[in-house]
C-alpha cells in the first residue's frame, strides 16, 4: 500500500506562472513526482517578481515567491524549440503518467506535442491543458491572465462599489480556482485510468471555472431576465450586513446578522443602545430598507474598538463577524498559526520563509513539505542521466548546445525590482514592517 496516494505517479509539467503550478504542487505534496520543465530561453516570468529583500542577489531568478508553488517538485530545463528538446520530452512522456501545460492553445500545436501525438508514444497518457478560454471554439486561440479572464467570465461585473464601475477583484480567482479544479480533474482521470487502463485529454478553460462561481446571478438572468449588478457590501436580504470602521488607521470589521433570531443577540453584544427600538430597525426587511442609518449607528460602536475585539465579542455569542485582515495580520493570525496554514521552510538562495501548508488534510495520508523548490535545471542530471539513461558526454553536449542549462539564456541583469519607497510614495502600501525577517524567524516559536 503506498504511503501517499500519488506515490509512483510521474507528471511532466510544462505549466508556468500560477494555475498549473498550483495544480501540480497539490499533487506533489501528496507524493507525485512532478518534473517541472522550463526552457532557459523562456523561463517562468514569475521568477523575477517580488525578489527577497528586493535584491537581485547572485541568482535573480531564484529569489521570488514562486518558490511557494514549487516545493516538492523537480526542475528540468529543455529548449523545446530545438529538435533535441522535443525528442527528450517525448522520451520523458513515454515513462510518465501525466503531461500538463497552461500555454496559449497554439503553443503545444507548434511544438508538435498535442494529445494525439503523445498518445502514440504512451497510449494511456493523461494530458491536462489549462488555458484562458479552452482549446476549442472561436476563442480557441485567445490568451489571457487573471483579471481579463475574470472579466469575460462575468465575475468582475459583480464586483465593486454600487455607485462605481466594475473593479478588478484585486486578488485573483481564476488562477487559484483553476489550480484546485485542475487537481481534481487530474485525479478523476487517474481514477478512471486505474479502473479501465485508458488515458484521456482534459480541457480546462479558466473562464469556465470562474463562471461556475456565479450560478446564483446567472439563474436570476435565465429564470427572470434580471441582470444583476454590484451590491457592494450589502446582501440580497441580510441586514445588517457590511464592513465597519474600527479603531486605528484603515482598520475594519465585517459583520453579518443572518436572521431575525440573531438580531437581539447582536443588540445585546453591542450593549442594547436606545436606537435599536427604532421602528426603522424593527425587522430584517425594515433594517434592509434603512441600511444606511443602521450602518451609521453600528459604526458608532465599532470605531471605539479594535477590529479583532469586535470579532471576538460577536463570535463568542455566535454572530458572524471577522476582522478585515491585511497580509501581515493573516500570517500572524492565531488560527492560521494553530492550524499551520503556513510552515517555515528552508529555501535555496533566500533562506527560511513561510510556505503555505499542504492543501489537503487527509487523516491517514497527510502530505508534507519534503523538499524546497528546486533551482533552475537542478534535476537535469537526475532526469536525463538516471531516468532516461543519457550519458554524461551527451549531457555535456546538450548544455553546450543550450538545449539544457542551469541559468537563464541570456543572463538577466536583475530581478524586477520595485523600490518599496516608490510604492509608499504612490500610497500603495498600508505600511512596511522592517522587522519582517525577525517575525519570520520567530514564527514557529510563537505558535
Amino acid at each position: 500500500m503506498p504511503s501517499l496516494p500519488l506515490e509512483g505517479i510521474r507528471i511532466v509539467d510544462l505549466s508556468q506562472v500560477w494555475a498549473g503550478p498550483l495544480t501540480s504542487r497539490m499533487l506533489a505534496d501528496m507524493g507525485a513526482e512532478v518534473i517541472n520543465v522550463e526552457a532557459c530561453q523562456r523561463i517562468d516570468f514569475l521568477r523575477y517578481f517580488n525578489p527577497a529583500e528586493n535584491e537581485s542577489g547572485e541568482r535573480p531568478w531564484e529569489r521570488s515567491n514562486r518558490n511557494l508553488l514549487h516545493r516538492n517538485k523537480r526542475n528540468l530545463t529543455l529548449n523545446l524549440n530545438s529538435p533535441h528538446g522535443i525528442d527528450l520530452i517525448k522520451r520523458l512522456v513515454k515513462i510518465s503518467d501525466v503531461v500538463m501545460e497552461n500555454f496559449s492553445p497554439r503553443v503545444m500545436k507548434n511544438f508538435g506535442l498535442t494529445y494525439d501525438v503523445l498518445k502514440e508514444i504512451k497510449p494511456d497518457i493523461i494530458m491536462l491543458s489549462m488555458s484562458a478560454y479552452g482549446q476549442t471554439g472561436p476563442y480557441g486561440y485567445y490568451s489571457g491572465l487573471g483579471t481579463a479572464i475574470e472579466a469575460v467570465a462575468g465575475t468582475s461585473n459583480l464586483a465593486g462599489y454600487p455607485d462605481g464601475p466594475p473593479r478588478e477583484v484585486d486578488s485573483y480567482i481564476s488562477d487559484p480556482g483553476s489550480g484546485v479544479y485542475g487537481a481534481g480533474a487530474l485525479l478523476t482521470a487517474l481514477y478512471h485510468r486505474d479502473k479501465t487502463g485508458k488515458g484521456q485529454f482534459i480541457d480546462l478553460s479558466e473562464a469556465e471555472t470562474v463562471t461556475t462561481l456565479i450560478g446564483g446571478p446567472i439563474l436570476d438572468y435565465t429564470l427572470n431576465g434580471r441582470v444583476q449588478s454590484r451590491m457592494g457590501n450589502r446582501h440580497p436580504w441580510m441586514a445588517p450586513h457590511g464592513v465597519y470602521r474600527c479603531q486605528g488607521n484603515d482598520s475594519w470589521v465585517a459583520i453579518a446578522v443572518r436572521s431575525e433570531a440573531e438580531w437581539p443577540i447582536f443588540c445585546r453584544v453591542i450593549g442594547n443602545p436606545a436606537w435599536i427600538t427604532d421602528k426603522r430597525f424593527a425587522d430584517m426587511p425594515a433594517r434592509w430598507q434603512n441600511h444606511d442609518e443602521l450602518d451609521r449607528y453600528i459604526e458608532e460602536w465599532t470605531t471605539r474598538l479594535d477590529h479583532y475585539q469586535v470579532m471576538y465579542l460577536l463570535q463568542e455569542d455566535g454572530v458572524p463577524a471577522a476582522a478585515v485582515l491585511n497580509v501581515s495580520e493573516v500570517l500572524l493570525d492565531k488560527h492560521v498559526r494553530a492550524n499551520k496554514y503556513f510552515e517555515l521552510f528552508e529555501q535555496a538562495e533566500i533562506g527560511t520563509r513561510p510556505c503555505p501548508g499542504v492543501s489537503f488534510k487527509l487523516s491517514k495520508t497527510p502530505g508534507s513539505i519534503r523538499k524546497p523548490a528546486p533551482t533552475l535545471g537542478e534535476d537535469n542530471e537526475y532526469v536525463l542521466g538516471q531516468l532516461l539513461g543519457i550519458s554524461q558526454d551527451d549531457i555535456t553536449r546538450l548544455e553546450a548546445e543550450e538545449v539544457i542549462g542551469q541559468h537563464p539564456i541570456p543572463l538577466p541583469k536583475s530581478a524586477d525590482i520595485v523600490p518599496v519607497e516608490l510604492l509608499q510614495d504612490c500610497k500603495l502600501l498600508a505600511g512596511v514592517d522592517s522587522d519582517y525577517l525577525n517575525q519570520i524567524k520567530e514564527y514557529d516559536a510563537n505558535r
Binding site: M1, L6, M30, N50, A52, E53, N54, S64, L68, Y133, Y139, A151, L158, A159, Y161, P165, S171, V180, A183, G184, A185, T188, Y191, H192, G199, L204, G215, G216, P217, L219, Y221, T222, N224, V227, P236, H241, V243, W252, V253, A256, P320, A321, V324, L325, V330, H335, A338, N339, F342, P354, S359, F360, K361, S363, K364, L422, L428, A430, G431, D435
Partner: protein, 396 residues
C-alpha cells in the same frame, strides 16, 4: 455513455453552498449522489433566491437547482434514532460521505468519523467547514463576506480612500466546494490503490488562502511590505470604459509597442511607462491615455480584434453577455434541463471537460424526498407501509 465516477456512491449530508457544490461536481462526472435533507424544510437554499418569477417556493429556487441538479434526494431526520439508523445502513453501501455541518454536529449525532469507520472501513468522509475541524476559530460562524475578511482578500478590494468592498458573489463557499471535490478525489484515488478510507478535513479558510498566500509571501515575507487597496489596480490596471460597457486592455508578448500600434496610441510607448516601477508611478496617466481610445469602441468587438493581435484583452461581461457569448455556446457550457415544477432551467455546466468521460447534467435538482421510495425501499428493503410510518413519525 461511460463516466469516470460511474461506480462511486456518495451520501450527501451537505447544505447551503460549499458542500453541495462539491458533491454536484462528483455527480456531473457520474457519481451517484444521494442528498439527505431534513424533512419538512429541506436544504436552506430551497428558501433562497433567485426564485422563478420572484415567488418564493421550496421547489422553485434557482440557486438550489444550480447546486443540486444531478442528485437524488431523500429526507431523514438525523435527530431521530431511526433516522440515524437508516443513515448508517446507507453508509454501509457508500464510498463517500460528505458533510458540511459545524464541526461538533456529526459527533453529537453519533456519526463521527470513528463511528462511521467502524461500520465501513473503506468510507471516505469529507467534512467541509468554514475554519476546519481544529483551531481557535473552529466554532466561529461565517458568511461569504466574513470569510473574505479573515483570509486577507477583502482588505485588498476597493479604493484606498473608501471602505473595503466585498465581491458580489460567493467565492468563499465555491472555493470550499472546489477544494472538497479535489480533496475527496485524492482520498478516493488513494483508497483505490490499496489504501483505506479516511477522514478529509476541508477548511474553507485554508482553501481561500490559495488566493492570498502569494501576497502574504510575495509582499510581506519577501520585503515586509503590506499592500493596500490601491496596489493591484496600480499594478494591473483598471477597467476602462467602452462604448457599451467596460474593457481591460493588456500588453501581450509583443509588449507595449504592439499595444501602442493596435490602439494607434504612440504616446504610451513613453520611456516613463517602460518598467513596472514606472507603471506604478504613472498609472493614472496611462489609464487616461488608453481610455481615450477604448471609449470609442464596442467591448466585444474590441476584445476580439485585440486578441487577433495577440493582445490578451478582456471585456466585462454581464450575465446576459455570458449567455450570448459565442465561446460558451460553442463549448456547450450552459445546459438546459426540465424540472417538474420549474419547467426548462438553464444553468452553467462543469468546470472542466474530459475527452473519454465527459460531464453530464441531465437530471434536475430533486424535489424534497423525491427518491425516498427508490432508496429506502429499493436499497434498504423497507416496505411501503414502513415508509408511511416513518413519514408520520417525522423521521422522513
Amino acid at each position: 455513455m461511460e463516466q469516470a465516477l460511474d461506480d462511486v456512491k456518495v451520501l450527501d449530508l451537505t447544505h447551503h453552498v460549499a458542500g453541495p457544490h462539491c458533491t454536484k461536481i462528483l455527480a456531473q462526472f457520474g457519481a451517484e449522489v444521494i442528498k439527505v435533507e431534513r424533512p419538512g424544510t429541506g436544504d436552506p437554499t430551497r428558501h433562497m433566491g433567485p426564485f422563478l418569477n420572484d415567488i418564493p417556493h421550496p421547489e422553485k429556487s434557482g440557486l438550489f437547482f444550480y447546486l443540486n441538479s444531478d442528485k437524488k434526494g431523500i429526507t431523514l431526520n438525523l435527530k431521530h434514532p431511526t433516522g440515524v439508523q437508516l443513515l448508517k445502513e446507507l453508509v454501509k453501501q457508500a464510498d463517500v460521505l460528505v458533510e458540511s455541518f459545524s464541526p461538533r454536529v456529526m459527533s453529537s449525532l453519533g456519526l463521527s468519523y470513528e463511528e462511521l469507520e467502524a461500520i465501513n472501513p473503506n468510507l471516505i468522509m469529507t467534512s467541509i467547514s468554514s475554519f476546519g475541524q481544529t483551531g481557535p476559530y473552529r466554532d466561529y460562524q461565517a458568511t461569504n463576506m466574513i470569510m473574505d475578511a479573515i483570509n486577507g482578500c477583502l482588505y485588498l478590494r476597493g479604493q484606498a480612500d473608501r471602505a473595503p468592498v466585498h465581491v458580489g458573489f460567493s467565492i468563499a463557499e465555491h472555493f470550499g466546494g472546489a477544494a472538497g471535490f479535489s480533496a475527496t478525489m485524492m482520498a478516493l484515488y488513494g483508497r483505490n490503490r490499496g489504501g483505506k478510507g479516511q477522514h478529509v478535513d476541508v477548511s474553507i479558510m485554508a482553501s481561500l488562502l490559495n488566493q492570498t498566500d502569494n501576497v502574504v509571501v510575495g509582499q510581506y515575507c519577501q520585503q515586509g511590505s503590506i499592500p493596500n487597496r490601491s496596489y493591484y489596480t496600480a499594478r494591473y490596471g483598471v477597467f476602462l470604459t467602452a462604448k457599451d460597457g467596460h474593457i481591460l486592455p493588456r500588453p501581450g508578448p509583443g509588449g507595449w509597442e504592439t499595444l501602442a500600434a493596435f490602439l494607434n496610441l504612440p504616446e504610451i510607448e513613453d520611456e516613463r511607462f517602460a518598467t513596472t516601477a514606472g507603471r506604478f508611478e504613472h498609472a493614472e496617466e496611462i489609464n487616461e491615455l488608453t481610455a481615450s481610445r477604448t471609449r470609442e469602441e464596442e467591448k466585444v468587438d474590441l476584445f476580439k480584434r485585440a486578441q487577433e493581435w495577440r493582445l490578451p484583452f478582456g471585456y466585462v461581461a454581464t450575465t446576459e453577455d455570458l449567455l450570448k457569448d459565442e465561446q460558451y455556446r460553442s463549448r456547450g457550457y450552459f445546459v438546459t434541463v426540465d424540472h417538474p415544477e420549474m419547467g426548462k432551467v438553464t444553468c452553467p455546466g462543469a468546470p472542466f471537460q474530459m475527452s473519454e468521460t465527459p460531464w453530464r447534467t441531465e437530471r434536475p435538482a430533486p424535489l424534497l424526498g423525491e427518491h425516498n421510495e427508490e432508496i429506502l425501499c429499493g436499497r434498504l428493503g423497507l416496505s411501503k407501509a414502513e415508509l408511511t410510518q416513518l413519514n408520520q413519525a417525522g423521521t422522513i
